[in-house]
């Protein structure tokens, strides 16, 4: 176990910048997930930590040691790949032990003991004599995990390890990964494009876009206090709605004013600077609901599409020329074309700068972040 620190790390491939000078601190024993859309540089970041790619600029430290330029094998990291990367001609046992035996750092007894331990945890004792071709996707991934485990590395690196599994298996393996981590407490860096995986697995979630780190936070804080419009829209499904509004001020009262609505904004940091300017009002689909009757904070909208999800009814609505989605109560009697009054949970509103995309205001910021979270904010 060790901590990992990236300092001003930049990676270029033939003039294309994949990672743009990122700083990241991963504490000892943490489970950090890195999430972002395809091509955001998350896999490259992981490969830089593994040593499979060399940073163009910047330094990477593990523990107190700088590892920039150190060979992958000398970094004491294990990696699990999306396609499992099992040697197809070797049995599961041989796959697990091959690296250890080749490296020559372990005695045979030690290897046997480690294999026994790892395979028992992963429940693959019965599969050891089979070749990868005779194993299912989930079993292969377990063997690949076993191979990573037996080496007892300082850091686990996982590159979308569950992406090739079907939905059900993925959820099961997700829980197992979480269990494994709580058992071994090895520093783990887990790259995924799936925000659910990122949120459920990570103590800390790193959101990346376009080669930059957008935000590093605990899953809940990421959801509640997105620092940029990108994070707000990337985390949460369906994405946070963004409505163009003007911020008007009347004494100490602030309102977000759109063509068809006026939504009161609870007092919190950032409102004063936002007043009088344009902004993007961020509302999560679950913060909106269909009102029984119109009142001061409600506004009219037209339902364009209804999607019954069972536990809720997803409505696509339009007000003026702005479209947005909301989760309504299931079995709400609305049809496409209906006009409804909507109310907003004003404690859960966000404002973003339309130009830079940076968050300028969170309605819930009244509850100070330092109080709601004990997360070390260095990461």
């Amino acid at each position: 176990m060790t901590d990992v620190t990236l300092q001003d790390v930049r990676k270029e491939f033939d003039g294309v910048v994949a990672v743009k000078n990122i700083d990241l601190q991963i504490p000892d024993g943490a489970f950090v997930t890195v999430v972002g859309p395809s091509g955001c540089g998350k896999s490259t970041t992981l490969r830089l930590i593994a040593g499979l790619e060399q940073a163009t600029e910047g330094t990477i430290q593990m523990g107190n040691q700088e590892v920039t330029g150190v060979e992958p094998k000398d970094r004491d990291v294990s990696m699990v790949f999306q396609n499992y990367a099992l040697y197809p001609h070797m049995t599961a046992r041989r796959n697990i032990t091959f690296g250890m035996k080749s490296a020559g750092d372990f005695s045979d007894e030690e290897i046997d003991r480690q294999v026994e331990e790892a395979t028992a945890v992963l429940d693959i004792d019965d599969l050891l004599d089979r070749k990868p071709g005779e194993l299912s996707g989930g079993e292969r991934q377990r063997v690949a995990l076993g191979r990573a485990l037996v080496r007892d590395p300082e850091v686990f690196l996982m590159d979308e390890p569950l992406s090739n599994l079907d939905a059900k298996l993925r959820i099961k393996m997700r829980a197992e990964l979480a269990k494994l981590h709580s058992e071994f407490e090895t520093t783990t860096i887990y790259v995924t494009h799936d925000q659910t995986e990122a949120m459920t697995l990570g103590d800390r979630v790193v959101v990346m876009n376009d080669g930059r780190i957008q935000q590093v936070d605990s899953p809940q804080r990421l959801y509640d206090y997105p620092e940029t419009r990108f994070v707000a829209e990337f985390i949460g499904d369906p994405a946070m709605n963004m409505l163009s509004v003007d911020i008007s001020r009347d004494g100490t009262e602030y309102e977000a004013v759109g063509p068809t609505f006026r939504i009161p904004l609870p007092e919190a940091d950032g409102l004063e600077t936002a007043a009088g300017a344009q902004a993007l009002l961020g509302i999560r689909p679950e913060s909106l609901s269909v009102a029984d009757s119109a009142d001061r904070s409600s506004f009219p909208a037209e339902v364009t599409v209804t999607e019954p999800l069972g536990d809720s009814l997803l409505l696509e609505c339009r007000t003026g020329d702005q479209e947005f989605k909301l989760h309504a109560e299931p079995r709400t009697a609305v049809e496409p074309g209906d006009r409804v009054a909507l109310t907003v949970e004003t404690e859960r509103l966000h404002l973003f700068d339309p130009q830079t995309g940076e968050a300028i205001y969170h309605a819930a910021a009244a509850q100070s972040p330092e109080v709601t979270s004990t997360v070390d904010s260095t990461i």
Binding site: V77, F81, G99, S102
Partner: protein, 294 residues
């Protein structure tokens, strides 16, 4: 694969197959049958054919010159297969490993294969000529007296090197392609696990590309027995004292220098059966050892 009726009408299919069938019949099957038939005759241009039964084969079995040729051929083909594949595997691995200038190295390795065999033979003849060869003086500087025009074992080695040099390119094409198909993540896993380069080549790459290697063993065997004819012909003419008199060259001389067509046919039948059996054996072995996935 299930049979599928592509053509509704057999005539149409037949017409399309006809050219291939005619060529195969006239230039492959007919000569084969004719050669087998001819091997039971004493055939010469002057006196016509006389049926002699198994006489030609009896002569073969008792000819010490022919038995020496068999030994030379087997030794030569074995050395060609092993030599070509060992060199090609090393070269392919190096080309696979480097990131800069892959194409240049690939072309450099492949060009001898692109030369017509006769040209390659001539080029090598001059490169290694005992008196005027450009390599000769360097080799002599090492204390070897280069005189392969009269020294049997030296001649064998020189022809062998030429044969290997010519065939390496062909093997490298296939091997680099096969190595290119090995998933990158396997290489990376091996790197992370601290598997050494040699281990990676021998324990990971070779088993995975084994189907390609089996194919190459068979192609190189055919090359070793048949394809090396032009080099022998141009460089040593089977000599000195039969040291490079491989079966295919021996056969050529019997037929086209001594005009003993019946005897030559018997030799070709023996060679055909021997190489056929060898190939069958190689296929059987490969089924057991090559990794074909699954």
């Amino acid at each position: 694969m299930s049979t599928r009726e592509v053509f509704t009408d057999h005539l149409q299919a037949g017409v399309l197959l006809l050219p291939t069938m005619v060529v195969s019949l006239v230039f492959l099957y007919y000569p084969t049958v004719r050669a087998v038939g001819l091997s039971f005759y004493r055939a010469s241009l002057a006196q016509g054919d006389v049926f002699v039964g198994l006489d030609n084969y009896r002569r073969l079995a008792t000819s010490s010159e022919y038995l020496q040729s068999v030994l030379i051929s087997v030794l030569f083909a074995t050395c060609v297969v092993v030599g070509v594949m060992a060199v090609a595997l090393c070269v392919s691995f190096l080309i696979h490993e480097i990131t800069v200038g892959k194409g240049v190295y690939l072309v450099a390795v492949i060009w001898p294969y692109a030369l017509p065999p006769a040209v390659a033979g001539l080029v090598f003849l001059f490169i290694a000529h005992p008196n005027i060869g450009i390599f000769t003086s360097y080799i002599e500087a090492l204390g070897v007296d280069v005189n392969w025009f009269s020294h049997g074992p030296q001649a064998f080695v020189v022809v062998l090197i030429a044969a290997v040099w010519k065939q390496v390119g062909y093997n490298v094409i296939f091997m680099t392609a096969a190595l290119g198909n090995v998933p990158e993540s396997l290489t990376e896993t091996a790197e992370l696990d601290g598997v050494s380069r040699t281990q990676r080549l021998l324990r990971v790459y070779v088993p995975i590309i084994s189907p390609t290697l089996v194919f190459l063993v068979i192609m190189n065997t055919i090359y070793g027995f048949f394809g090396t004819f032009p080099m022998v012909d141009l460089m040593t003419k089977g000599g000195p004292a039969g040291a490079t008199n491989i079966l295919i060259y021996d056969l050529y001389r019997t037929a086209f220098q001594f005009y003993e067509f019946g005897f030559a046919s018997a030799k070709s039948v023996v060679l055909f059966i021997a190489v056929g059996l060898l190939m069958y054996g190689q296929f059987r072995l490969s089924d057991r050892y090559a990794y074909y996935g699954g």
